[in-house]
């Protein structure tokens, strides 16, 4: 009884949040400022990316710095479809995501036997290898990259030029998809397997969980969703080249946002993105023009401070506040 009530409350909150996002474009704040639209879209995009990473990194406990590879493959999927083959982006998006999932399984199968930092550095190495190979692979544009031309804006081509509302709803769909899948996983048996693997492979195996299969499934799903985000990124920026999408910088964003928000928690990626992305965008907008990287100094400092004082991220801070209030309530009684 208690659990069902709790569940429904959680669901209500989630639905309320979605409704809140869905009506944002109707507010004057949104419609009057394309920069606010941009920031909002970035928040949703990056929180989806971080959530995709969270499946593997948070719930399953495998810290991958290689997600920009899958993100990049997704971006190249749609980029190739549009620029090279002159198609609509949709088949490219799907192909990119499927290829990303396959590549993810192929490269992580051998890598999963590595532990801790060895695994982390292997994923670094993979990003660098992919980046450099794509830089010289001229069939996909190489160092020059793929540039979108003008097409008819709308859902068919998934580009918009004058207004960003289309992009906003596009990324909201992506957000709902990624977060919805993770919600489902959390409740489903698969989520239990994931956490079992995180807590310890031996224990998991002893409970009858095939840890390799669980990790590979998590990786494939995570890469598939990351690739969808990459496809959106390409459509949004009208351009793909390797440093934009397949770089350690991009990989770090996946990790950073999740950990700042709260590793292995459902709302962590959203909180991390909601803090980090506006901070990044607004500091750059106000301080970037001065030059001298003042915005990046502040950004770096903030990361250090948050990690040092609250390694469990913003979720940890929230939990602590909640606990303190609980305690004081208990004391009152």
């Amino acid at each position: 009884m208690n659990t069902t009530r709790k569940m429904s409350r959680k669901d209500l909150f989630w639905l309320g949040l979605l409704a809140f996002f869905a009506v944002i474009p109707l507010t004057p704040w949104f419609s009057h400022s394309s920069f606010a639209q941009h920031v909002m879209i970035q928040v949703l995009l990056y929180s989806s990316m971080a959530q995709a990473w969270n499946i593997l990194g948070g719930y399953c406990g495998q810290t991958s710095f290689g997600h920009s590879v899958f993100f990049g493959i997704g971006a190249y999927g749609t980029g190739m479809a549009v620029v090279k083959f002159g198609l609509i982006p949709w088949p490219g998006i799907l192909a990119g995501a499927v290829i990303a999932a396959m590549v993810a399984v192929a490269i992580s199968y051998p890598c999963f036997k590595l532990k801790g930092h060895y695994f982390a550095i292997a994923t670094f190495a993979i990003v660098e290898i992919f980046n450099r190979l794509f830089m010289v692979w001229y069939w996909v544009g190489g160092a020059i990259g793929l540039d979108y031309g003008f097409t008819e804006p709308g859902w068919k081509n998934f580009v918009w030029y004058q207004s960003k509302v289309g992009y906003f709803y596009g990324v909201l769909l992506l957000f709902v998809l990624v977060f919805g899948i993770v919600r489902w996983i959390e409740k489903h048996r698969f989520g239990f397997y994931l956490r079992a693997v995180r807590e310890g492979q031996e224990t998991a195996e002893s409970l009858g969980v095939n840890s390799t299969r669980v990790k590979l499934s998590a990786m494939a799903l995570s890469a598939f969703l990351a690739a969808l985000c990459g496809a959106f990124f390409a459509q949004y920026n009208y351009r793909v080249d390797p440093p934009m999408v397949m770089s350690l910088d991009m990989s770090m964003k996946f990790v950073l946002i999740t950990i700042l928000g709260g590793l292995g928690t459902f709302y962590g990626p959203l909180l991390g993105a909601a803090l980090l992305i506006p901070l990044q965008e607004y500091t750059r907008a106000y301080l970037g023009g001065i030059g001298g990287g003042v915005d990046l100094i502040i950004f770096g400092l903030l990361i250090v401070v948050v990690v040092v004082y609250q390694p469990r991220g913003i979720m940890g801070i929230l939990d602590r506040i909640v606990n303190r209030i609980r305690r004081s309530e208990g004391g009152g009684k």
Partner: protein, 286 residues
Amino acid sequence: MATFLQVAFDGLLNGLLYALVAAGLSLIWGVMDVINFAHGEFLMIAMYFSYWLGFIWKIDPIISSVAGGAFVFIVGALTYRLVIRRTIGKSAMSALLATFGLSMLIKNICLNRFSPNFRLLQDTLLGGKTFNLAGIIIPVPQLVIGLVALALLFVVYRLVKKTRLGWAIQATAMDKEAAELMGINTERIYLLVFGLGGACVGIAGGLLPSYLAVHPEVGALFSLIAFVCVAMGGFGSIPGALLASLLIGLVEAFAGFYIAPVFKYVAVFGLYLVVVMVRPRGLFGW
């Protein structure tokens, strides 16, 4: 044949440079299980330090490298005191993320203070000098760096293996609680190790301005290669890091010359993957 030897020799010299950069990282990693993401920025700080000493007071990089080592020792110790200490015992990722933030901070402070100009010292004792040995051209600055690398690695290795301090470091690395029970001040050991790790990379950075230009982005690739050297060598093993660095230097040179220069880092990172597939804990890991 002469070309082959030349390429091999260049590769070895570069490998030694990588070993010098990686030594400090290896030490820190071995003892504290921390990947210092700001390692490349430590190198950059030392390069700037050495550059400014050379530019303002005309001090040669050979001498400034010692000062650079001391300076980065302090930077390392401060980093430990202010940042790393608070992440120990928490999630494995927190130290990594904190140092990532730190690297961003340091890089952009240098950009802010020193401008993005690239700077190269003129007329240093070693700069631009070469000699010819049986048809192989040997650049003096790189040779000196290589020799310093060998000496320093030897000293660090002896320090860890043969001194009382080293035993305390090893004990701390193996089991922190047990070491504390035996009366080792692990806090001080950590501080020292982080400082020493900084000092190693500081010496490397101090020597570099005699042939490599300093700019705020100079550390990025070095730190990446250092990560790979250390991981390939195996968990905190100094001889492992040396062997891995030499291998990486050679692979880089051969792949760069015999395949194509754009592929040299593909080969280096590929080598790492191959090595850890065969030996999941690195060459000298156990």
